[in-house]
């Protein structure tokens, strides 16, 4: 059985990895694939895209298409008249003491890659087991301005890195971890402050180097993004229609074209 480590780098942009010549991120083989579109947002969106990657199913089948949920009934009522016409529903519900929670494993309707082996670790995976605290922290930070937001993005990232490196020492056959720094900074800095984004990419490359030293050589390391990041006319960054992948081994059969392909490729690697 081959050990598989998946480094999920949200919104890691293929064009930037190549342009900035980040060999550590490109590994032995790399490419781009067609990202999955969220039915709700009409473009690739983090929770539905990662859930597609870990299940091999489209959002309509796996059932995750947003960050937050109020539970099945309230989610359904909110989309129907007259509630659908009311703006700022989230704020009103918050004042009434009704808080949303992040989607989790129990709402995913199909099996995931983590069911393929008993020794699997999933860390911070959107739609599956992402903790709520970083969202809250970032939500508060942006109220104080962009600089505070960027500072907090780095703080959250360092916390994620430390937690991950600690857990990497555990016993596992399949380990998947998710980092959001390329996405969060991509939205802010894709046009106006690219140096900050480059620093983040370099930091992710450094993390790969550290990970390679800490894992046995026969581990298959898959670097994966759910979508890329494109510059927008309004000066922000937005999700592009393709994602990035790379592997540290010369496996010719590992050649994903679509987000749904990853499930079977990971399954095959685990059986090798």
């Amino acid at each position: 059985m081959m050990r598989v480590l998946i480094l999920g780098f949200d919104a890691l942009e293929y064009e930037l990895v190549v342009k900035w010549k980040l060999k550590q991120l490109m590994q032995k083989r790399y490419g781009a694939y067609e990202a999955v579109k969220s039915p709700k947002y009409g473009k690739p969106h983090t929770p539905s895209a990662w859930t597609t990657i870990i299940t091999g199913r489209l959002p309509e089948e796996h059932g995750i298409d947003d960050w937050w949920t109020y539970g099945k009934i309230l989610d359904w009522i909110r989309t129907k008249p007259p509630l659908v016409w009311i703006k700022n529903k989230r704020k009103i519900l918050w004042k009434l003491g009704i808080r949303p929670r992040l989607h989790s494993r129990k709402e995913i309707k199909v099996k995931t890659i983590f069911d393929l082996t008993p020794r699997s670790i999933a860390l911070f995976i959107p739609g599956y087991n992402e903790p709520v605290e970083p969202h809250m922290k970032l939500n508060e930070a942006i109220k104080k301005g962009i600089n505070e937001y960027i500072k907090t993005i780095w703080e959250v990232h360092r916390w994620r890195v430390n937690t991950f490196l600690e857990k990497l020492n555990n016993d596992w056959d399949l380990f998947m971890v998710w980092f959001d720094i390329a996405d969060l900074l991509g939205h802010v800095c894709m046009v106006k402050c690219r140096k900050e984004l480059w620093k983040a990419y370099l930091d992710l490359a450094r993390l790969v180097g550290i990970v390679k030293k800490k894992t046995p050589e026969d581990t298959l390391i898959i670097i994966l993004s759910d979508h890329g990041m494109k510059p927008m006319p309004d000066g922000t960054g937005d999700h592009s229609e393709y994602g990035f992948w790379s592997i540290n081994k010369d496996l010719e059969w590992f050649n994903p074209k679509k987000a749904v392909d990853f499930y079977s490729l990971i399954e095959k690697a685990l059986k090798m």
């Binding site: 942006i142 106006k192 450094r206």
Partner: protein, 72 residues
């Protein structure tokens, strides 16, 4: 290949040690390759020509994040 000149500069020892580690972790052959890479990116890449974020830009970022469900 472009002609190279030899430049001797002194840098703090701790910085040198950090650069050696950084070069190794980020996948560069050696510290020389890493330093050239960083300087090239900083000096030659038009990507980094600084634009300052205005209040209006900040609002546009917030709008984008709100539309994607990241913030309230």
């Amino acid at each position: 290949m472009e002609e190279e000149i030899e430049v001797k500069i002194s840098i703090p020892k701790t910085l040198y040690e950090k650069l050696v580690k950084e070069a190794e972790d980020t996948g560069f052959k050696d510290i020389r390759e890493f330093i050239i890479y960083v300087l090239e990116q900083l000096v030659e890449t038009s990507d980094f020509e600084g634009e300052v974020m205005s209040k209006e830009d900040e609002e546009k970022v917030k709008e984008r994040l709100r539309a994607l469900g990241y913030i309230d």
